[in-house]
Amino acid sequence: MSINSNEQRRSPLYPRRIFFGTGDSGNILALLILWFTLIGASAINNSLFLSKTTFNAVVFNMCILGVLAIGQALIVLSGGILDLSLAVPLILTGCLSVIFYDRGWSTLPLLIFSVLISGIVGLINAFFIVVLKINPLIVTLGTGFAGGGLLLILFDRAMVNPESWIANFGISYSLGVPSAWWPMVLFTIFMHILIKYSRPGRRVVAVGGNPVAAKVSGISLKRYRFATFFFASIIAGVAGVIFAAFTPEIRPSSGTLYTLPMIAAVVLAGFSLAGGSGNFLALFISVGFLSTVPTALVFFGLESLWEPFFQGVILIVAVSLDALRTKKTVTKG
C-alpha cells in the first residue's frame, strides 16, 4: 500500500487529457475541428463539395448509422462494454415492419409492435449478462450470431412495397432535410437531456462509471442493465424501420454492415469503453464526420473500396486514444 503512488495518481497536476483541454466541451471542439478540416479540405479540392446535394448525401449516410450508434453508446456508457448483436434488432424490426405492413397494419401499432418485439433481443442479452454473469462481449457476440442465423431461417428476405409509407419515408424530406434524419436528431436531443439532466440518466452514468459505488448508493444494477440493453435494442429497432425504408429488399446478412462503423462512431465520440463517460452531442458530430468520409473520398477521386480501410483506421486511432486516456486517468483497474 504505497502512499506515494496513490498520491501521484490522484494529483491534480498529473496530465489528464491528451488533446484540447478537458471534459466534454474539449472533446466536442476537437471533433468539430476534425469534421470542418475534412469539409474544408474537400471543398478546397473541389468547390462542388459545398452543395445541398452533398449535404443531403451526408445526411442520408447518417440516418441509420446515427440511430444505431446512439443505442451502442447507451450500452458503452452504462458499462455494458459493447453490444455486438444490434444488427439483430435492426433486421428483425425491418422485416417485421414489412410483414405487418403487408398484413394491413396501420402505422402506429406497426411501429410500436415491430420495435417492441426487437427489445426482446436486449432482454435476452441482459438475462445472460445479469443473471448468469457472462461477459457482455461474449453474450452479444453469441446472440448476434444465433440471431443472425435465425433471421436467415425465418426471413429469407423481405420485400418492401415501393408504394408504402415505409418506402416513401426513405425518400421524403421534412423541414428541408431528409425525413429519415429526424429520428437521429430527436434521439440525440432526448439522450443528451436524459443522460445529463435526468435521474435515470445520472444513474446510468453511475452504473457505468463505478458499479460497486452505484450499488452501495442503493442503485439496482440489475434493473439498469436490463433497461439499458432493452432500450439499446429498441433504438436499433427504430434504425431497422429506417433500414426498411432505405432497402426494399432486406437481407438478414446486411445488418452486420453497420457493426464496425457504429463502434467507430461511439469510440471516436469519446465514449470510454470502460463506461461512465461520453456525450451524445459529441456522438452526433462523430457520426457526421464518419458519414462525410465516404462522400469526401469520392470527391477526392478514391474508389468506394477505400471506405472500409478508412473506417478501420479511424476505429483503431479512436480506440487507441481511448486506451491512452484511460491509462492516464483511471486510478484503478
Partner: protein, 351 residues
C-alpha cells in the same frame, strides 16, 4: 466397456438412418440400365425449387429416356454432401448431377466419384474433372446491356449524364462478365458513351452497400440527372436507383439488373426497367446435352471451367412489363417437366 459398445451400436444405427434418410425419390433400376443420380443443393433461394423440392425436370427427362433415377439432398451441409457421395457410389450411378452449396468439400466428393468412374455435371460451381453447366454470364451481361441501351437510345438519344456500374468484385470473373458485359452490350447500341461518364463502384450486389456508394457518386456529379444503372444483380442496381430518388425528384433513372430477383412479384421498383432471367430451376433440361452422349458411350471432352463450360445456359432479358406475364418458378418447372425436350428459355423467354 459395456457402455461403449452400446454407444457404438447407437452410432451405427444412426448412420444407417442417416444414409437412408436422404433418399427422397428413385426409379428402381434393372441391371445394366443407365442410372441418373441427382444431388440437390438443399436450400430454397439458391436454386429455387431445385433446392428443396426435388428436380422434376431431371426425373421427367430420365423417365422419357427409360433411365433409372435416384435423388439425394445435400441440404447445404458439407458432411451430408460427402456422405451422399458414398451413397451415390454404392447406388452404382451411371452419371451424377451435382449441386453442392458447400464447394469446399467438392474435391473430396470428386475423388470418391472419380474412383468409381462416375461422370459428374456441376451447376454453376466449377470443379476440375466435372462438366461445368452454368449461365452464360457474358451473354447475360451483353443481353441486359443491349436492352438497356435501347431504352437509353429511345429516351435520351444515347446521351445519359452518367452510367453507374455497380460491381461486386468479390464475384471475380462472374462480375467482370456480367457488369462488364452490360457496358459492352449498351455500347453496341450507344457506341459513343464516353468512358468518363461511366462510374464504376463497389455495390457488393447488395442494396445496403450500393445505395450509399451511389449517393456519394451522384453528389460528386451534381449536374448529372439522366442516370443509367447496370450491375451484377437486381439488388446492385435498385440501390443506386433509390439513391437518386433520395437525392431529388429531378433525377431520371433507367436501371437494368441481372438474375431477376427483384423483377418478379408486386414490389418491383419503378426504376428497375428490366432484368436478365437465368431460369436456374430449369438447368437440368440442359444437362441432357451431356448426359445423352455419356449414355451413348461417347462422353464429350472435359470442359470444367466457368470460362470453358461444357454447357452454357442461355440467359433471357426481360422488361419489367414482360416479367409480369412470366409465372413463378414452381409453375415453370412443373410445365418444363411436362415438356422434357424443351428448355425454360424456349418456354418462357419473351421473343
Amino acid at each position: 466397456m459395456q457402455k461403449k459398445s452400446k454407444s457404438w451400436s447407437v452410432i451405427a444405427l444412426l448412420s444407417v438412418v442417416a444414409l437412408v434418410l436422404p433418399t427422397t425419390q428413385s426409379i428402381a433400376a434393372p441391371k445394366g440400365k443407365f442410372k441418373l443420380c441427382v444431388a440437390l443443393g438443399g436450400i430454397a433461394g439458391i436454386l429455387g425449387t431445385l433446392g428443396t423440392e426435388g428436380d422434376p425436370v431431371a426425373k421427367a427427362g430420365a423417365k422419357k429416356r427409360g433411365w433409372a433415377y435416384y435423388e439425394v439432398n445435400n441440404k447445404l451441409d458439407a458432411q451430408t454432401a460427402v456422405k451422399n457421395a458414398d451413397l451415390l457410389v454404392r447406388q452404382k450411378c451411371s452419371a451424377v448431377i451435382m449441386f453442392n452449396g458447400r464447394p469446399e468439400v467438392n474435391p473430396t466428393i470428386a475423388k470418391k466419384l472419380a474412383k468409381a468412374k462416375i461422370p459428374v455435371i456441376t451447376y454453376d460451381i466449377g470443379q476440375p474433372g466435372w462438366y461445368f453447366l452454368g449461365i452464360d454470364n457474358l451473354a447475360a451481361g451483353e443481353a441486359g446491356g443491349e436492352a438497356l441501351g435501347k431504352l437509353v437510345k429511345e429516351k435520351w438519344n444515347c446521351q445519359p449524364d452518367l452510367v453507374l456500374q455497380s460491381q461486386a468484385s468479390g464475384a471475380g470473373i462472374v462480375d467482370a462478365m456480367r457488369t462488364g458485359g452490360m457496358i459492352t452490350g449498351m455500347k453496341k447500341i450507344c457506341p459513343d458513351i464516353p468512358a468518363s461518364k461511366i462510374k464504376i463502384f463497389e455495390g457488393n450486389g447488395e442494396i445496403a452497400v450500393a445505395q450509399p456508394a451511389a449517393r456519394d457518386i451522384l453528389a460528386a456529379n451534381p449536374t448529372a440527372k439522366k442516370i443509367a444503372v447496370v450491375g451484377i444483380n437486381d439488388a446492385g442496381v435498385v440501390g443506386p436507383a433509390l439513391a437518386a430518388r433520395q437525392l431529388g425528384s429531378d433525377y431520371d433513372v433507367l436501371a437494368w439488373g441481372q438474375d431477376g430477383n427483384l423483377i418478379a412479384g408486386d414490389n418491383v421498383n419503378p426504376d428497375l426497367k428490366g432484368s436478365v432471367l437465368y431460369f436456374l430451376e430449369g438447368y437440368s433440361a440442359y444437362a441432357f446435352e451431356v448426359l445423352d452422349q455419356i449414355a451413348k458411350g461417347t462422353p464429350p471432352k472435359m470442359q470444367d471451367k466457368a470460362t470453358n463450360p461444357a454447357v452454357l445456359v442461355k440467359p433471357c432479358p426481360v422488361s419489367a412489363a414482360q416479367a409480369k406475364n412470366i409465372p413463378i418458378d414452381k409453375v415453370r418447372v412443373a410445365n418444363l417437366a411436362k415438356n422434357p425436350s424443351k428448355t425454360l428459355y424456349a418456354l418462357y423467354c419473351p421473343k
